[in-house]
Symmetry: C2
């Protein structure tokens, strides 16, 4: 059941994009676990990256979506946890690679860097592209076991 649940969160810089991406998730019949923020008040992006990471680690969601101004800070936060593979993507190619090569379970966007049409395209690809396995499995395994 949690496989069909997507945790989503943002800071103030990613709010508008988060709301657009939620419409796509809802249209696809996915359960949405919205962990904030909910208004334009300035907040700290690590809190929201950590919230989505915790939801996946706890089994409350199968995947996650994160948005901040550039996607950089919020992806750094989520990637603090070995169970999380948070991919900052910018277009169809990077969205596809993030699934095929990195088995990403979180997709990250910058509300100031990626427009809504491109982001929606990326999110569809993120949801639909299977992991490539093979040599990539060994590499993804190493991401779960930092040296």
């Amino acid at each position: 059941m949690t496989d069909k649940t997507i945790a989503i969160a943002c800071d103030h810089g990613g709010l508008e994009l988060k709301n657009i991406l939620k419409e796509l998730l809802a249209a696809r019949g996915l359960q949405i676990l919205d962990l904030g923020t909910d208004d334009n008040q300035s907040v700290d992006y690590p809190d929201y990256g950590y919230a989505v990471a915790a939801a996946i680690r706890d089994g409350r969601a199968g995947r996650g979506v994160l948005c901040c101004g550039t996607g950089i800070g919020i992806s750094i936060a989520a990637n603090r946890y070995p169970e999380i593979r948070a991919a900052l993507v910018h277009d169809a190619f990077t969205a596809r690679m993030s699934r095929e090569h990195n088995d990403a379970n979180v997709i990250c966007f910058g509300g100031r860097t990626t427009g809504p049409g491109v982001a929606l395209d990326c999110l569809e690809i993120f949801l639909d592209t299977p992991f490539g396995g093979d040599r990539h499995s060994r590499r993804v395994g190493k991401l779960s076991n930092p040296a």
Copy 2:
């Protein structure tokens, strides 16, 4: 002294770009700690992300540069460590923001996604842009202390 040392590494997908970026570092008189890979043989990007993270954590380098195919996998690896803020950048804006807002100490590129001219531009900005401090200090502090 280590402040002037830049650790740099890549997988096979980022080798060509790494070699171009090293020329800029050398031209600026920076010490380069090249942690591989050195040829086109297929390798695992996490090993190289972890190597640069270790060099910064050990004090052998002040900052780092990482390149893989998309920059996604190698940045996930480096960000496993709370001391590392590895920013995947794509242009002057994201390079500048990564320093001003995120105090990034590692810059990441995709050899298949970012051309050499743009990457050189980003690297110059990464080296020259100070951290903005203020409210960003609180957020960067949270990146060092995952919940």
